[in-house]
């Protein structure tokens, strides 16, 4: 079992890293030939960083759009962020001081995360417009994340797993020195689901995470009269004049 899970995590991590790296490379090599920021937009690069930060941290556009989606989406994402940060303790030795500080928050953030996900899932059933646009993968993705969250919460709040051995397993993975994985069924389910998520990430809508940083309507400064913006393929047209 240890060897199967070790292999699974090596492969899943590899697919995630290669898949994401390729996508990011692909986005960055594809030119944005025209200035298309959604205005009003910042006129400077500093302003763009500020706009993007508000978008990524506070989900500003979503807040303008729909308070329900915003509440559920933000609960989920911020909860997930704290939960992930908390999990860093399995991968660092000694554990970083700030990871220690957020441990109690991360523990209860799992409730935020699952509550947010449940809200998002409910919307897919309840709101006719959202039901219309939902594909099977949209439901499954939420179910997968909820299952990850709930199995994790089981181990935190109900039936503790052997986290000392678990940490040894993951530290072992990182240093290519395999250690036995605790044979706790909930843990095995939790880890299998996480590995699945890692594999799905670069080939699914989860690409919204890197994608938002490449969105020309959000990452361009509004300065077309002051700066000439020409993509390489478009610049060649100028030379034929």
């Amino acid at each position: 079992m240890t060897i199967i899970y070790a292999g699974m995590f090596y492969i899943a991590t590899l697919l995630l890293v290669i898949g994401l790296a390729y996508k990011i490379f692909d986005y960055s090599r594809t030119p944005a030939p025209l200035k298309i920021p959604t205005t009003p937009a910042p006129t400077t690069q500093t302003g763009v960083v500020y706009r993007m930060a508000k978008e990524v941290v506070l989900f500003e556009s979503l807040f303008k759009s729909n308070k329900w989606i915003w509440v559920f989406g933000w609960l989920f994402h911020f909860g997930l962020f704290l939960v992930l940060a908390r999990h860093l303790r399995y991968f660092t030795q000694p554990v970083w001081f700030w990871v220690d500080i957020i441990q109690p928050f991360g523990k209860y953030a799992s409730i935020m995360m699952v509550a947010g996900l449940a809200g998002l899932l409910a919307r897919r059933f309840v709101v006719d417009r959202v039901r219309y646009i939902s594909t099977p993968s949209d439901y499954l993705m939420l179910v997968l994340l909820i299952a990850i969250g709930v199995s994790g919460m089981m181990m935190t709040f109900v039936a503790h797993t052997d986290i000392i051995s678990l940490k040894e397993f993951f530290m072992g993975l990182m240093y290519f020195d395999l250690q036995p994985l605790p044979q706790d069924p909930i843990l095995l389910i939790h880890l299998a689901l996480v590995a699945t998520l890692l594999v799905i990430f670069p080939v699914s809508k989860l690409l919204h995470a890197p994608g938002v940083f490449f969105s020309p309507t959000r990452n361009q400064a509004d300065n077309p009269r002051e700066h000439r913006h020409v993509a390489a393929w478009a610049a060649r047209l100028d030379q034929n004049n």
Binding site: T38, A41, R129, P136, H208, R228
Partner: protein
């Protein structure tokens, strides 16, 4: 061919989000472009045997050229934030007019042919083969989008359906399904110089007639110069300004402003059109070719400034793209753009919007106005989509909202905004933009105007508003045709410079 009969929606107290009614607008097919039009544009005029390969090839080509398309097709999570934002969905209740569903018409094909998940598990991720039915859906619904970008304001990733609609139309063009209206206009502007197909001598006649009218009306010999070499300002304005009502009233306004300020200006017969329908498809070459007429005219006439009249999508192309496409602007360090940029007067923004110019002149006291001349009017202002969400005026973000309002308030005493969620960046499109201003799409146009008509109705009831000012030729043409169907008088619709024209002091 008579347009189909349809019911005019009822104006309610508030803009309501309707329950879905599937496929209620699938019968809408804008008239297809015939062979001569498609030939001129270099597109086929009918589906060939290989249409599917051509479509997929073109999609691949566009995916490699436009980061927007690639990122937008990947990033959507189907959250639903945009589903109640499109005026065409609000007006028609057809779910394929929800921005995300409109995008999904292309996204399903993208997933099938360009992504691993869609190749392996099409059903799971909503991927579909490109079939004739899918293509027909594209033709229906990509011509029920005015590319107004309202959805992009509310999308957490900034996904702009306009980018996908443009790409969709371009692919349709390449398989032989072009739109008659837009492609005919592109033919006219490239062959004759303007969208109306008005040749130089006819334009000269029209302008002379207008000069006589103004002099008869005011006693002042206000000129409308054409093709004057060495003029300071080249004014580029939508050709509708030359003889459509109420557009022409704004043209008279611009002429009076130049006259009163003593600015030596000219129109150009070669560039007698600010509009650029090349924007509406993802064909960079066509948009560039149309824009290049302005550069050519500016170089030939030796003007120092380029000013753009009241036209929404034209201002987007001028403000956001002219520098890129033609070097009209600043900051170029290549020979192509330097040639023009050293000719321009660096004391002014290039290009400049007529509202920026007039507002500056009034604030500086160079021209005098009497706002009481508009006391018969209670004015509101319709933010045109392309000005609001795809451009700017002035030096600060949001100048595209404040400058026209400042200008209106300086020439008219009674002004009231419509509801906040219907103006500024949340403004509702008139319903006729983006290549939809044609009679064969009247049902879409009327129903798409419902949110704006509702907002207008509320200020009419509350503040007795009797004039809706705007700075877009398409909005003016659309509203004068469509608002009467909702019971409004068409004389309520007019340009900002129509108000300026009444208030300006000429002596």
């Amino acid at each position: 061919m008579a347009a189909a009969e349809f019911d005019i929606p009822e104006i309610k107290n508030d803009i309501e989000v309707p329950k879905l009614r599937e496929d209620v607008m699938s019968h809408v097919k804008t008239f297809p472009a015939g062979q001569p039009v498609q030939d001129f544009m270099g597109y086929p005029h009918e589906l060939g045997e290989d249409w599917k390969d051509r479509a997929i090839d073109k999609m691949g080509d566009l995916l490699g050229k436009y980061r927007s398309l690639k990122v937008f097709l990947d990033a959507c999570v189907h959250c639903g934030a945009c589903t109640d934002k499109c005026h065409y969905y609000l007006g028609t209740s057809d779910p394929k007019n929800m921005p995300v569903a409109r995008q999904d018409l292309m996204r399903q094909v993208y997933r099938r042919y360009f992504t691993t998940a869609g190749k392996l598990f099409p059903k799971l991720v909503g991927a579909k083969d490109l079939t004739k039915e899918v293509l027909d859906d594209w033709y229906s619904y990509y011509y029920q989008c005015s590319e107004c970008r309202r959805c992009s304001v509310f999308c957490p990733y900034g996904i702009d359906t306009a980018e996908i609609t443009m790409a969709g139309r371009e692919i349709l063009n390449h398989v032989g399904m072009g739109q008659k209206y837009s492609n005919e206009i592109l033919g006219k502007v490239m062959k004759i110089g303007n969208n109306l197909g008005l040749p130089g001598p006819a334009l000269e006649d029209t302008l002379e007639g207008l000069e006589e009218d103004i002099e008869a009306d005011t006693g002042v010999p206000v000129k409308m110069p054409l093709d004057v070499k060495g003029a300071e300002v080249l004014l580029v304005t939508p050709s509708a300004d030359f003889f459509s009502e109420p557009h022409v009233e704004s043209l008279i306004g611009y002429a009076k402003v130049f006259h009163a300020a003593g600015i030596n200006w000219t129109l150009s017969s070669h560039a007698s059109e600010a509009g650029n329908f090349g924007l509406f498809d993802a064909n960079y070459d066509v948009m560039r070719k149309v824009a290049m007429r302005i550069r050519d005219a500016a170089l030939e006439l030796g003007v120092k400034r380029i000013v753009v009249g009241e036209c929404g999508h034209a201002w987007r192309v001028a403000y956001s793209f002219w520098n890129t496409l033609t070097g009209i602007g600043y900051g170029g360090n290549d020979p192509f753009s330097i040639e023009l940029q050293q000719q321009l007067d660096h004391n002014y923004p290039q290009p400049q919007h007529i509202c920026e110019l007039t507002n500056d002149l009034i604030k500086a006291g160079t021209i005098k106005v009497d706002p009481s001349k508009n006391d018969d009017l209670v004015v509101t202002y319709h933010d045109s989509c392309n000005v609001a969400r795809a451009s700017r005026m002035g030096t600060e973000p949001g100048g595209q909202f404040t400058i026209p309002r400042e200008l209106i308030k300086s020439v008219a005493n009674n002004f009231h905004n419509m509801a906040d969620e219907t103006i500024y960046e949340s403004t509702f499109c008139c319903g006729g933009g983006g290549g939809l201003l044609t009679d064969d799409l009247m049902e879409v146009r009327v129903k798409g105007a419902l949110p704006r008509a509702t907002a207008l109705n509320n200020v009419v009831k509350e503040h007795q508003v009797n004039f809706m000012a705007m700075i877009c030729a398409i909005c003016k043409a659309q509203f004068t045709k469509v608002l009467p169907k909702y019971g409004f008088d068409m004389s309520m619709v007019g340009g900002v410079h129509q108000l300026v024209s009444k208030a300006i002091k000429l002596d």
